[in-house]
Symmetry: C2
Subunit: 251 residues, 2 copies
């Protein structure tokens, strides 16, 4: 399973990985300095750093400039629950986690106008959510609501860090379809900054568009979820009728 490549950096990374998982280096512990490790493995600091970069990409090591390299304790993963089965309130998707929110009124830039299927520069409200746990950010969400469609304005959105599960986006009467497109990528510098992650740690990027009965877009959301502390779950049930249809189609 392991082995595969045998460059010096991979050998060193494998050794450090082993020492971490065996408990020789414990969670939240500071590793020896890069200079010390380089001496210990008799490699140059550059090579040692590229070994650490591998572990960093796996989320095993966190580098803090000017301080040290730290073993990352296993972070509790939060789960974004996809689909339209739950209520239309956003915070419900990350149930027991506190969020900070910020509301801004903006004019739709072109990419959002396309997504929302409205003319550019339409008025809309941007809600920025930051889910966090013990000061560790777990997710970033940009939610866009068309001012002309939202039947209810967001109630009492504050920047209080302890706000919990307040319904933010009021359900639109004729809401019928939710479309969620998910991709993986590396974070932008800005996202890495906000989420306090390395630029080499992959994120899930989820675009969610809610359409009402008339095909109008009610709201759109862009979520950025660090791969080491969040994932996405979809649970789909087949109703009796659907099951029958599938069987018919298979015959």
């Amino acid at each position: 399973m392991t082995a595969s490549v045998s460059t010096r950096r991979h050998v060193i990374a494998d050794d450090l990985r082993r020492q971490i998982s065996s408990g020789h280096f414990k969670a939240d512990e500071r590793l020896p300095s890069e200079a010390q490790l380089a001496t210990h493995y008799t490699v140059s600091t550059s090579t040692l750093r590229s070994a650490l970069a591998l572990l960093q990409g796996e989320g095993l090591v966190e580098k803090i400039h000017g301080d040290g390299n730290f073993v990352r304790g296993p972070l509790r993963k939060i789960t974004y629950t996809g689909g339209a089965a739950t209520s239309a309130s956003w915070t419900a998707y990350f149930a027991p986690i506190p969020m900070t929110a910020r509301t801004t009124s903006i004019e739709a830039p072109s990419h959002l106008a396309t997504l929302l299927n409205v003319p550019p520069r339409s008025r809309l409200t941007e809600l920025l959510y930051l889910a966090h746990e013990e000061k560790v950010p777990h997710g970033l969400a940009y939610i866009y609501v068309l001012d002309s469609v939202a039947s209810v304005t967001p109630p009492a959105v504050t920047t209080s860090p302890e706000q919990r599960s307040a319904p933010i986006v009021a359900p639109c009467p004729a809401l019928v379809e939710v479309q969620e497109r998910i991709s993986a990528r590396l974070p932008t510098e800005e996202e890495a900054m906000t989420l306090r992650i390395s630029v080499s740690l992959a994120v899930l990027s989820l675009t969610r568009v809610v359409t009402d009965f008339y095909g109008r877009v009610v709201d759109a959301a862009l979520l950025v979820l660090p791969s080491d502390r969040a994932d996405v779950l979809f649970t789909t049930s087949l109703s009796i009728e659907e099951r029958t249809q599938v069987h018919d189609r298979e015959r």
Copy 2:
């Protein structure tokens, strides 16, 4: 929007990005050699290479050892359609794309036994799919079917590269629930090899578990999708009854 960091490698990467998007370097074209580029930007080859690494992580540049660095033409993205709405046949999820398949009979290792909720070393069939288009791999799927549950054995699974949308996993009579968990990560060396991608290009990792009416796991699947050529789409509709329920709950 851009700017942010201004190290030499970022400046160089920005410049190359601009030249690529402006058409100065065209798709599938070979870039000047790293030595030439390093001279042109008056930096060391190491710095130049780290600039290229940024572009590689974005999927803009493909490095080929011993040959050169190439501008990557925009790859057509395939879409994995999640949910249980479509038929239970696997190839249907990537409708018009050819796949190669391989069938192996194995004993469940512990992590699969956990996933499938069966005793370790149970007999099961592993199906390995490789979706590709013009020899470019677009996805990798490991599908596990319990021998004791599968009511119909896979019909005519071949390794023919041109096989199209043959139903592989026969629908189990009482199939009722599909659970799909999605995460992002960097690929393993092995996956990078198989999918012919860089280890610094993020992949989507999707675990799908199909449960039947009695709560038994019918099959499990692990999908690995390179972020530059595949994404995942879920479309969920609220039925009238469900919408009523949501409204009731909100009141």
